[in-house]
């Protein structure tokens, strides 16, 4: 790189680090979506049915995610209940 190029490069943002940041976020999200076992969608569906026997919740109230930490797999289950709960 010559002297002129040096100053030109200073003006441009470092695009490689932007690329790296975007990729890290994207890849993490895509891995989280696919990593899980095949039965996850069915499990989610059935859990939703069971919960709805007691509480009226939205279709997207049940969130399931599988995380891996080393040799350990963690099944994370998130159920969002409505603000005012009505028992049946």
């Amino acid at each position: 790189m010559n002297l002129l190029g040096y100053f030109r490069a200073q003006r441009n943002k470092n695009t490689a680090s932007v690329a790296k940041e975007r990729l890290q976020i994207l890849v993490a999200r895509e891995r989280a979506q696919r990593g899980g076992p095949d039965y996850l969608p069915a499990l989610q569906e059935e859990l939703l049915l069971v919960i709805r026997r007691y509480v009226e919740v939205d279709q997207d109230a049940v969130q399931i995610q599988v995380d891996r930490e080393g040799d350990c797999e963690i099944l994370e289950l998130n159920i969002t209940l409505p603000d005012h709960q009505q028992g049946r």
């Binding site: 790189m1 010559n2 990729l23």
Partner: protein, 269 residues
């Protein structure tokens, strides 16, 4: 029993066929009987890069369909002993590669050869999935560029869930990263992802870094696997990759810009 090695990437144009040709040639040159198989049905190209396009009589699909036997379809390389090519078919029938057919041919090949190198087509459709399914080792060819890295990660996901080894619960497919079209110059200027960046994102073992090189086009123009261009940077980088694949230690080369003198830095390009 030979090893099945798939060369894959997801994205097209990153150097799968160039790399398949170079690696297979390198393995054969190291004394291992090697066959390189073109899985890109409909878009045969490995024969051109290997320089044997005029000697193709029977192809992969002919062997699967029983129109020819394996020995009729294998093309012996005239430069390197123990190196053979199995060309892809030019048929437009996408279902020509049946799972049973591919398995039978690959089984037969691994009886005869030490290494069966499978040159995968781009994408994640049938041909690509078939090339990946039976693999023992996978060489993931990646350019230091966002779409290529993303697609490589996708392909790694498929290897770890949809390959035969994954389905049968055996030892996972061994994954190797081959970074191609690398410009140390642009990395230094912050314009290109570095090999450390790509390694960090994909987190697999680095097999080699191939510099962006004029030798690659020159070699494919002539139908010579670039690894046979012993003087060229790309050829030497592929040779290092083959050595590492065979378990030898080789320091990385061509990943730093050559040092310039003071005036060079001021006035050079």
């Amino acid at each position: 029993m030979g090893k099945i090695v798939v060369v894959t990437s997801g994205k097209g144009g990153v150097g799968k066929t160039t790399s398949s040709a170079a690696l297979a040639t390198g393995l054969a040159r190291a004394g291992h009987r090697t066959v390189v198989v073109d899985f890109d049905v409909g878009l045969r190209n490995l024969d051109l890069v290997m320089g044997c396009e005029r000697r193709v009589v029977y192809d992969f699909v002919n062997v699967i369909n029983g129109d020819a036997n394996l020995n009729q379809a294998l093309i012996r390389d005239k430069r390197v002993d123990g190196l053979y090519v199995l060309a892809a078919s030019q048929t437009r029938d996408k279902d020509a590669l049946t799972s049973e057919g591919v398995e039978r041919v690959l089984d037969e090949l691994r009886d005869q050869f030490d290494y069966v190198v499978c040159d995968s087509p781009a994408g994640i459709e049938r041909g690509a999935l078939m090339a990946m399914y039976f693999a023992d080792d996978a060489i993931v060819v990646t350019n230091p560029e966002v779409s290529s890295v993303r697609d490589s990660d996708r392909v790694l996901g498929i290897l770890s869930s949809k390959s035969r080894r994954a389905e049968q619960g055996g030892e996972p497919v061994k994954e190797h990263l081959l970074l191609t079209r690398y410009s140390p110059d642009r990395v230094k200027r912050g314009e290109m992802l570095s090999l450390e960046d790509v390694g960090e994102i994909l987190s697999i073992d680095l097999l080699g870094v191939i510099p962006e090189s004029q030798a690659v086009l020159n070699a494919s123009n002539a139908g010579i696997p670039v690894i046979l261009e012993d003087e060229s940077d790309a050829g030497q980088a592929y040779a290092d990759g083959v050595a590492r694949f065979l378990g030898q230690e080789r320091p990385l080369r061509f990943t730093d810009i050559p040092r310039k003198g003071f005036f060079g830095r001021l006035f050079g390009s």
